[in-house]
């Protein structure tokens, strides 16, 4: 094995250990987020649940992050599996980026910069130890752009098809990335024009020349269509197939997007937005359409990246495509805050550009100085943006990590779960995990819960006295009470249909009430 590769593997392993240490540390400070709890709960169902687990396995979304977390499930440590996955995954991201760098440059300075960022940047620490699946998004985002840029140079099918596969995987990590395709539609035309064998160098004149010559025009159209197909066929077809599977197994094309049983984002994003906007001191400045400016503030390296690729219009457009994408998300999903993940993609993209071109700049001293300054700035902006994020989980991460104060966000769920754990083993509890998945994630015996993935759930919710001993109900104060059937409206309705039903309140918190069926 090459010596540098060996060193790289050792550094990656050390980094993984560092992230694992941090992840366990945060776990002990009871930092949790909804995404990792959702995956933990689904993994628990797969390993210990009784019923149609295949549906949970096939339709839980985003599917790759879930499988990533599932792969790290050891024993009964379900809550740790997402953080293990993110820690190892982020270390792998480092390895991929560092490996790309070492293949292109022998200058260890850039490797050091990469290492500094991965060790100190709070954004990347958040990726590594939060248990969220941002690491997967960043890996595939990096690989997608890496292969696209390689394709520009080599013009080989290998790179464009691998880029397509990465785009597909990216979409299955976060479905919103499907909109990235939109910004590649005009770009592909530029790529085709650029690849034509013409004497003219300027893109606009190449375009003019191609459109006015029938043979060239035919070639241009054929090639453009061919690239569209090679890049987009796999992602689009795969999405259609996945939708088809959703239709056949859940009677809904968009089950994986719309159902809170399948996708944690359905409720988490709404909850986050509603909580933030309900504060009196809420400042909508970061919801402004000028998200591009905040990206440049967050990641000043992106300016350097654009500078490095300034010679080719289509390459600049490639780097600019994610700006359009994020701007588009901001408009399309106006009731959702941009997660930190959408800022981090620019950090990855900038690093990719620097990996490609940074070491080739003629004035290396100046380049290194700028990169060093930008790295320090990046660590600071990473902290600042997380600290002032509109998403509570992101703010909590910084507070828990840097203030070492235990996080009590999920204290209530843990409390309810603790009570459920004390109930006798043979007693069944009716729970709707659309909103109660954090509670389920903290319980020890999922076998005693009757959940919606089970066939008995519907019967149990209609005739609880025959199937279950307890019912967990969301109170009126529960911010997600409107998204579950088992809420304060459920009891009057069920009593109406069966007036012999006797329920006794046995446990109560702000958001939950546990009734015993008598």
């Amino acid at each position: 094995m090459h010596r540098r590769t060996l060193y790289l593997i050792i550094i990656t392993l050390l980094l993984a250990v560092y992230y694992l240490f941090m992840a366990v540390y945060l776990h002990n400070l009871e930092y949790h987020n909804l995404e990792s709890l959702f995956y933990s709960e689904k993994s628990k169902i797969l390993f210990e649940g009784l019923g149609n687990r295949l549906k949970v396995m096939g339709l839980t979304s985003p599917i790759l992050p879930f499988y990533g977390s599932f792969a790290f499930t050891f024993g009964k440590f379900y809550l740790l599996s997402p953080v293990l996955a993110s820690a190892v995954g982020t270390a792998i991201l480092f390895y991929i980026m560092a490996n790309t760098l070492t293949k292109r440059s022998h200058d260890d300075f850039y490797l050091l910069i990469l290492l500094v960022l991965f060790v100190f940047d709070p954004s990347l620490l958040y990726t590594a130890s939060s248990g969220k699946a941002t690491y997967l998004v960043l890996i595939f985002f990096f690989l997608f752009f890496y292969h696209i840029i390689r394709y520009y140079k080599s013009n080989t099918t290998f790179h464009v098809s691998i880029a397509s596969i990465c785009l597909l995987l990216l979409i299955f990590c976060d479905y919103k990335f499907v909109w990235l395709c939109l910004f590649f539609i005009p770009l592909v035309l530029f790529i085709s024009i650029n690849s034509l064998n013409l004497s003219e160098k300027e893109t606009i004149f190449r375009l003019h020349q191609s459109f006015n010559n029938p043979a060239l025009r035919r070639k241009l159209i054929n090639k453009t269509v061919a690239i569209y197909i090679i890049i987009f066929l796999l992602p689009i077809a795969s999405v259609l197939i996945f939708k088809m599977l959703n239709l056949t197994h859940a009677d809904n094309f968009d089950y994986f997007l719309d159902s809170p049983y399948a996708n944690w984002m359905v409720l988490a994003d709404r909850l986050s937005f509603e909580q933030a906007t309900s504060f009196a001191h809420f400042q909508p400045s970061q919801v402004s359409p000028l998200v591009t400016a905040s990206i440049a503030l967050y990641c000043p390296m992106i300016v350097l990246a654009i500078y490095l690729f300034r010679h080719n219009t289509y390459q600049i457009l490639t780097i600019a495509a994610p700006f359009g994408f994020v701007q588009f998300l901001q408009i399309k999903y106006d009731k959702i805050f941009l997660a930190h993940e959408y800022f981090l993609i620019f950090l990855v993209l900038s690093l990719l550009c620097i990996v490609f071109r940074g070491h080739r700049h003629e004035n290396q001293r100046l380049m290194k100085s700028i990169v060093a300054v930008l790295t320090v700035a990046q660590v600071i902006t990473g902290y600042y943006f997380l600290k002032h994020s509109l998403v509570a989980e992101e703010r909590d991460f910084v507070n828990t990590l840097f203030n070492r104060t235990p996080n009590d966000n999920e204290a209530e769920s843990r409390e309810v779960a603790s009570f459920l754990n004390t109930l006798p083993d043979n007693e069944q509890i009716l729970v709707d995990d659309a909103i109660a998945y954090p509670v389920v994630a903290f319980t020890h015996h999922i076998g005693r819960l009757t959940l919606p993935y089970q066939e008995t759930y519907l019967s149990a919710s209609e005739a609880p006295e025959r199937y279950v001993n307890y019912i967990l109900i969301a109170t009126e104060r529960n911010p997600l009470t409107g998204y579950t059937q088992l809420n304060n409206k459920y009891l009057p309705a069920i009593r109406k249909s069966d007036n012999r039903l006797n329920l006794q309140k046995v446990y109560e918190t702000d958001n939950w009430v546990l009734y015993k069926v008598l």
Binding site: L54, T156, T157, I230, S238, I241, L245, T248, H249
Partner: protein, 615 residues
């Protein structure tokens, strides 16, 4: 004193004195007659040779029905007779009746005098008639060796016996177990079979995708670079044999000569053999009636069953003189620098690389739907699959033509199996089993894509039958095969050679079940698709089809055949044609395993394709 034929030709202006010297030098070097070199190395056309002989007062005679005496003919070796275009037939009136194409060949006349102690009585016949007669009368031993050499040397590698006893027992045991299972528990056994087939399909397709990605990584890799080619000196090039097995390809002979003439290789170092079957008068006449000089030597393959291409090639091998050898079909248009590239590559590669395979593609790709689909398939096969197999060190099933061998190793392997109808694929596996390797060269041979559906099915049924034969031959001793080619090679062989016919056989059944399920909503089929099976099956159907379509698209994208990319979507229909061919192949495997389904060439209307320029 009779005037030598060389002088006659010079006198008639068909040769210059300088050319005569060149021919003489080459004749001495190759140990053949002047006339043989003159006619086979592009110096004189057969028509001009005939004119000259008649001007000189000679008369040609029909000689095929001439009587012959076994005792007389057996004193002449086939190689000698073939090289000198002459054969003594019988002794009559105290003279040896000898058929000769060159009545002035003193060497052969002296041979007759010394051997028989009598003067010859010469009958003049054109060189093709003499060749025909020589091979017909003297080639029995050679043709028997062509048919039985491999069988005698290595009976386990011969496809003479299609199924061995243990194979028959295994097949019937599996079928019996399934039948018994269906009787006892129809639902569960059907579900199990369904799942096994589905998983098998998916694994086979993912394996192909993986191979394609591995293969496509080497898209920019040049096995032989332009600079390396520029450093090649013609003087250092070895003799290269090209075998051209043909049967009733009379329409293609002219094209064949144009294609051969454009090969960038010293003419005197090419040893081109046109292998014509004994009963193929059409092709022989086409060669005779050429208006211009031929650049190949005709070898007539005496009749012997099985009448297959590998048998003809084995026969041609007896006369090959090259250090390297390749096979082309009559309609093939190799890249002009292909032979040089192969020589360079062989020089670069370690000794255990004994074969180099060129890519195959089609010059008439835009002719109709079938040719487009064929191009998609071949681009995928030769540009992605074979490089993928090569990289992963999995046995490469050689393509029908443009495989270049080291002669000595080819002979050592026992050459082609005449009983196997995809002798090339079989030979590739056999080479790996002996520890040899096959490389891929960055050069393409353009062929004529089959543009007629029934012709296509005939050709494809032979290929699929050949894959079945090859699989059965090498799976006679699976443990032995694993020992020879390793686990990776074994799995690759099973998925590549074994799975290919099986997927085509199973595909229409699964498609039918699926369509019946979707369209007719037959409730009993639903019973066979519980939720989890349905999940796997739909995933399989969709993902499998999309992946195969995608890899085909990748292949034509690489070749820059952008106009074909959308045709990849029609692959599921194309696979149905494969299935029809697979069932035909299976039927033939059982009833006539060695029957060679002849593919008609020369049907394309695409003329003068300019494809083999050096790129």
């Amino acid at each position: 004193m009779t005037t030598p034929i060389s002088d006659i030709l010079v006198k008639d202006g068909f040769l210059t004195p300088a050319t005569r010297e060149q021919i003489n030098a080459l004749a001495r070097k190759t140990d053949t007659s002047f006339l043989k070199v003159a006619l086979n190395y592009g110096y004189v056309s057969r028509k001009n040779y005939g004119r000259s002989m008649e001007n000189a007062g000679y008369r040609f005679r029909e000689v095929r029905d001439e009587a012959y005496d076994e005792e007389v003919i057996e004193k002449t070796g086939l190689l000698f007779a073939n090289d000198h275009l002459a054969i003594p037939l019988r002794i009559e009136n105290n003279r040896v009746v000898t058929v000769m194409a060159d009545p002035t060949n003193t060497l052969f006349i002296d041979f007759v005098r010394i051997t028989y102690g009598l003067e010859p009585e010469i009958i003049l016949a054109d060189d093709l008639e003499v060749t025909w007669l020589c091979h017909k009368l003297l080639g029995k031993g050679h043709v028997k060796s062509s048919v039985f050499e491999l069988l005698n040397r290595d009976p386990n590698s011969s496809a003479l016996f299609t199924f061995t006893g243990p194979q028959m027992v295994s097949i019937f045991l599996v079928l019996g177990a399934i039948a018994a299972g269906l009787v006892m528990n129809f639902k569960n056994v059907t579900i199990i079979v369904n799942v096994i087939l589905s998983v098998f399909f998916l694994v086979a397709i993912i394996f192909k995708l993986f191979l394609s990605l591995v293969g496509s990584r080497f898209e920019l890799y040049q096995a032989v670079t332009k600079h390396e080619l520029q450093d090649v000196h013609d003087d250092e090039l070895p003799i290269y044999t090209i075998l051209l097995p043909v049967y009733k390809e009379d329409k293609l002979i002219k094209k064949l000569i144009w294609n051969l003439q454009s090969i960038d290789y010293p003419r005197e170092k090419l040893d081109v053999k046109l292998l014509i079957e004994e009963d193929d008068a059409k092709t022989l006449d086409a060669v005779r009636n050429l208006d211009f000089p031929a650049v190949f030597e005709v070898i007539v393959v005496p009749f012997h069953m099985p009448k297959t291409k590998p048998k003809a090639c084995n026969y041609g091998l007896h006369f090959a003189r090259g250090r390297y050898l390749t096979i082309y079909d009559a309609e093939d248009i190799p890249d002009t620098d292909q032979l040089k590239k192969v020589v360079v590559l062989f020089n670069k590669l370690p000794d255990h690389y004994i074969c180099v395979q060129s890519a195959l593609n089609y010059f008439n790709r835009n002719e109709n739907f079938l040719t487009r689909m064929f191009t998609l398939e071949y681009s995928f096969w030769f540009d992605y699959m074979l490089p993928g197999l090569d990289t992963l060190d999995i046995p490469i099933p050689l393509g029908g033509t443009s495989n270049h061998f080291k002669m000595e190793n080819l002979v050592e392997l026992g050459a082609w199996d005449p009983f196997n109808v995809t002798e090339d694929a079989d030979l590739g596996v056999r080479a790996y089993a002996k520890g040899y390797k096959i490389a891929i060269v960055n050069s393409t041979t353009y062929e004529e894509a089959n543009n007629e559906p029934f012709n296509w099915i005939r050709q494809r049924s032979r290929w699929i039958k050949g894959y079945m034969q090859t699989y059965l031959v090498h799976m006679r001793n699976p443990i032995g095969l694993i020992k020879k080619i390793g686990w990776r090679g074994f799995i690759g062989f099973n998925f590549f050679v074994g799975a290919t016919p099986l997927t085509f056989l199973v595909y229409p059944i699964l498609l039918f079940i699926f369509l019946a399920y979707v369209i007719f909503d037959i409730s009993s089929i639903k019973m066979l698709f519980p939720d989890w099976v349905l999940f796997i099956s739909i995933f399989n159907l969709m993902v499998g089809n999309i992946l195969m379509i995608y890899v085909n698209m990748m292949a034509v994208f690489k070749r820059r055949f952008y106009e074909l990319i959308l045709f990849a979507i029609a692959n599921p229909i194309y696979w149905l044609m494969h299935s029809a061919a697979a069932y035909k192949g299976l039927y033939q495997l059982i009833v006539k395993p060695f029957y060679w389904e002849k593919t008609n060439h020369g049907l394309s209307k695409v003329n003068n394709p300019v494809v083999n320029i050096i790129k």
